[in-house]
Symmetry: C2
Subunit: 404 residues, 2 copies
């Protein structure tokens, strides 16, 4: 007998009909002889609607009350789902975060799970019951409701899998798994059968939206194998596992992109120690994330050009911070460009393969795509290009690295 965690996202329980469908999936898994713990998100749209109500009350709505408000979304979906399972003739019950309890720290609206008391739920599933747990929520040490932040139900699933020592953690969503790239810009995108945590993290933070990056990170830390799959198909999805369990026959696992980029160049700053700190300190203090950084020194070694990229929405603020600092920085010119995209190839296999960088650049050059900046990590190479070339770049890289 296996013990499974099945997590259903908001789109999987978005309507009454879908909730009934999910109840049937659970019934099937149960009838196959498994012990089942279900984690459920709020019905699609519910959380946004509640958030909107709080914003209409106040732009600065109290965090603790916000958690009481938002947690009601999962309370609705998990009671409806339990009711639907009971209606199929099975034994089921809902558990809210405070009932188990799922104990978190007191960081309201984005709490971390500290501990889960497993006794009651464990006893229930050992005696033939199906436990339906509200995702996204917990209880603080001062006995108030907490929530885990955006996508928190994935985190709930991973934490439950860890504390209950389940054999598997299945994340049900509205797509068939993790794809090699975005199918809306490349119809040749294919489902990835296996992906490492590290690769998935790079894919997730670059726009593959099937699982929250922090939940991937949590599963990596505790080595919890994840199976991302579709609620609406019986096909196997994508397994997210340790890279030691993956036999890499491909150098590159996927091609990701983000269009939300802007570049800032500060031309002709005096090249002396501390100048980069003078530039980036006020930006960092304003919670603006710097992505890529390139520094060119002039031939005479006296002046330098510093270029960096940020999120497009931060551009105006960033320019203001630099201009405010013009006297101190003593630069010649401030240039910016916000029609840029970042395209990345990701693959744990590239660590063992030389020539990947060269192959990527050649492939882009053949398509006459100019590279404006580069950044690399052990399992990822990203390039900054003009936004209107994104689709062409993704398609050629997808083909070059044999993902088609």
């Amino acid at each position: 007998m296996k013990r499974l965690v099945l997590k259903f996202g908001g789109t999987s329980v978005g309507t009454i009909e879908k909730i009934k469908k999910v109840a049937n999936i659970i019934k099937k898994k149960f009838s196959e002889g498994n012990e089942i713990i279900v984690i459920v998100s709020a019905m699609a749209g519910a959380t946004d609607l509640l958030k909107k109500k709080s914003n209409l009350i106040s732009n600065n709505f109290d965090n603790k009350e916000l958690d009481v408000l938002l947690s009601s979304g999962e309370q609705v979906s998990c009671s409806l789902l339990s009711g639907a399972i009971i209606d199929l003739g099975l034994k089921a019950r809902s558990w809210l975060g405070w009932q188990i309890p799922i104990i978190t720290n007191d960081n309201y609206t984005s709490s971390q799970i500290m501990k889960i008391k497993i006794d009651e739920v464990s006893n229930f599933i050992s005696n033939g019951g199906i436990a339906v747990i509200a995702g996204f929520q917990g209880i603080s040490t001062e006995s108030r409701i907490t929530t885990l932040g955006r996508g928190g139900s994935d985190l709930s699933a991973v934490a439950v899998a860890k504390f209950f020592q389940t054999d598997s953690c299945e994340i049900y969503t509205d797509v068939e798994g993790v794809l090699t790239t975005d199918p809306s810009i490349n119809e040749k995108a294919k489902k990835i059968d296996k992906i490492s945590y590290e690769e998935m993290l790079e894919m997730a933070s670059l726009g593959a939206k099937v699982m929250q990056p922090n939940a991937v990170q949590a599963s990596m830390i505790d080595n919890i194998p994840i199976h991302v799959r579709s609620t609406f198909s019986e096909k196997a999805g994508t397994k997210i596992i340790s890279d030691s369990e993956i036999d890499y026959n491909k150098v590159v696992t996927g091609v990701a992109y983000s269009k939300n980029n802007a570049k800032v160049s500060i031309v002709g700053v005096v090249d002396k120690p501390g100048v980069a700190a003078d530039i980036f300190e006020p930006i960092g203090k304003n919670n603006i994330n710097i992505d890529m950084v390139i520094q060119n020194t002039s031939l005479d070694g006296k002046k330098a050009n510093i270029t960096f990229t940020i999120k497009r929405e931060d551009l105006k603020k960033t320019l203001g911070l630099i201009e405010k600092n013009k006297q101190k920085l003593n630069y010649n010119k401030l240039i910016h460009d916000d029609k840029l995209a970042k395209v990345s190839i990701i693959g744990a296999g590239m660590q063992a393969n030389s020539g990947v960088t060269h192959k990527m650049f050649r492939s882009l050059a053949d398509e006459k795509i100019n590279i404006l900046a580069i950044s690399t990590s052990e399992i990822k190479i990203s390039v900054l290009i003009r936004e209107n070339l994104t689709q062409r770049a993704v398609k050629t890289l997808h083909k070059t690295f044999k993902l088609n």
Copy 2:
């Protein structure tokens, strides 16, 4: 310093704007130097919407899960209201049933409150905080969420007033108080300043919808004075108090009616002991309430006619039950009429006044209204009449007993 319970119904918190208005009422009461405990219902329509969802899942939705589902409605309104009060610069927090806790029995969907632990909330309001408690909900002895049934927030308010020994319990609603009769059929209806619990019970169960009858009963048992008033006006409403505190200058306090009546007559049953039991036993077993009963014996003493009234919606089922029993009852004819209404005059003052009955019948006779059945209690006289005469009857009684 006074300690007040302020209860706001669903229509009072039906929109974000109304929630903000309620927050301002609370602020005003607080600034007058009172300790405040607020009880809040779900936003108007929310409970019905949740109920509808459960019905779409199953016609026989699990009671325990239904309570988890329905209690989310008050969770939303009480967190929004707390947030709105905090936004006005005051200290406030929400409490759900399980947090206080409000301990109930395990009678899911219609639980009774057994005990309320007052320490935490008491401490909070003694230190300048405003407590906002979700109405309608509690926690069972097995630590699961319970609800108190329809109108349960009124019951929450009365129980909180009792356990916290507050000085007053104000029920805010969308009307200015309890009226002498329904203003939609008699524009001469006037607000009643003071009414006894017993009178209110008769008024409530006959259709004056400002407060749930079982909450009135609970306040009567513990002698909790209630003040029913409008959220949208500063005028005093209706005080519901013990009849010993009321100086009756009027014999009749109000005129109530209900149109939801049907009459059944069984003509020519043998007049022997046990025949009434034979008729009413199967009806009672089917949870159909019998209201008025009239039995006429024939002149020869051998046959009798039995007439009784029920709710109109129960008519078909009742006729079926009697017909099924025809052989045993051995009656001649079964007659029914479902175009009937019941009109009642209510007044604790009538106990000390003779001639009220006579005056009522004369008044109706003058208007050519035929009385089909009569029932009386110490503080009420009800008559059954043709439904199309309801308005005329209410108007003439309202005038006769000087309520205009």
